[in-house]
């Protein structure tokens, strides 16, 4: 992988980290709020259905987590398992796709 691509991955890792820092806080605060207010699963689903903002938020969240996690695992593989090169890159892309599909599937299931 070229140096330019490595720097791009590093930047993507930092950018998604910054996004996730906000997303995770919003996510946790929402959970705490929903539980404290005594909302049922049905009530939560009804609110999510009637909104475009929540599915959009969680779609971004899922994509950021997929990108961030895959880049991080690629680094872990290189440094801890000495697994580098095309095979490791392909595995990282696979992880990113799997995470993104799983996350977006959940978003669609809740929003649709």
């Amino acid at each position: 992988m070229s140096r330019r691509a490595e720097v791009a991955l590093w930047a993507a890792q930092r950018l998604t980290a910054a996004l996730l820092a906000v997303f995770v806080l919003v996510h946790l605060a929402t959970i705490v709020y929903a539980v404290r207010a005594g909302l049922s699963a049905a009530a939560i689903l009804a609110r999510v259905h009637s909104s475009l903002a929540w599915p959009a938020f969680y779609a971004l969240f899922a994509l950021a987590a997929a990108i961030h996690g895959a880049i991080g695992l690629r680094t872990v593989a290189a440094e801890w398992l000495s697994w580098r090169g095309r095979g490791a890159d392909a595995a990282a892309v696979g992880v990113a796709i799997a995470l993104a599909v799983a996350g977006l599937r959940a978003v669609v299931a809740v929003a649709a």
């Binding site: 992988m1 070229s2 140096r3 330019r4 490595e6 720097v7 791009a8 590093w10 930047a11 680094t75 290189a78 440094e79 801890w80």
Partner: protein, 247 residues
């Protein structure tokens, strides 16, 4: 052993002997007042085993050649008092980590210095001797950045302390990157783009995890971590603006 006991008793010193596949050998060394770890090593070589190999030159913290692993941490042995590091009258001394062992306490620093060259640690002049002297404002932001990192004497302590070097053998390491940062901030230098390209990527500054062992253990109290953070910023900026020379 605390300083109250200095001048009496003995130290039990485990010293690495042989090459990469060597082992530790125990020596009993008399305890003295104001004793440095280098004094201990010198006592062993002069009075107990003249075959012990180790490096030193200035004895006063100027040359950086006496760096070794002392109780698991890289240090200048000439500037490390036994009082400060001995635990229960025991010392463990080895060669610097992350480098091949030549013999006993001597590590092969060839790879370490090769990485300075790979990081383009050489000054690339833009003027000739016919030109007038460059005027560099000492108060300028770039010069202050360079000044903060310029005092490195290449002892290898940061490189031996760095976990990322251990995990990623291609990683250029804190010293080479710190050197590159001083040149990136040198207004007289003409290789900025090529240097920022040379230090980018997973063998360069972007591999740093900001663990800060280099900064904690640098005997000159420099912060290679800060220099590497600067390189990350500048090389990303160069990449985004198309001014880098990255492949």
């Amino acid at each position: 052993m605390d300083s109250a006991q200095a001048g009496s008793g003995e130290l039990a010193v485990d010293v690495w002997r042989g090459g990469d596949d060597g082992r530790y050998q125990r020596f009993a060394v008399p305890r003295r007042a104001s004793q440095t770890v280098l004094d201990v090593v010198t006592h062993i070589q002069r009075f107990l085993d003249p075959t012990l190999s180790y490096r030193f030159a200035c004895r006063v913290g100027m040359c950086g050649s006496c760096a070794m692993t002392v109780n698991g941490k890289p240090r200048w042995t000439c500037r490390t008092h036994v009082d400060k590091v001995a635990r229960d009258g025991r010392l463990t001394l080895g060669p610097l980590a992350n480098m091949p062992v030549v013999r006993d306490l001597v590590a092969d620093m060839g790879g370490f210095f090769d990485k300075w060259a790979l990081a383009r640690g050489q000054f690339a002049p833009t003027a000739t001797r016919a030109d007038p002297f460059a005027v560099v404002d000492p108060a300028s932001a770039a010069r202050r950045e360079a000044d903060a990192a310029i005092e490195c004497i290449g002892c290898g302590v940061c490189y031996a302390a760095c976990d990322v070097v251990a995990w990623n053998p291609a990683y250029l390491g804190p010293a080479a990157l710190n050197r590159a940062w001083t040149l990136v901030n040198d207004v007289r230098d003409g290789a900025r783009g090529k240097r920022l390209a040379a230090v980018a990527g997973d063998a360069g500054c972007h591999a740093c995890h900001t663990l800060m062992s280099c900064t904690e253990l640098c005997p000159k109290a420099l912060s290679p971590t800060r220099s590497i953070a600067g390189l990350k910023r500048e090389s990303l900026r160069a990449l985004l603006s198309g001014k880098d020379a990255a492949p």
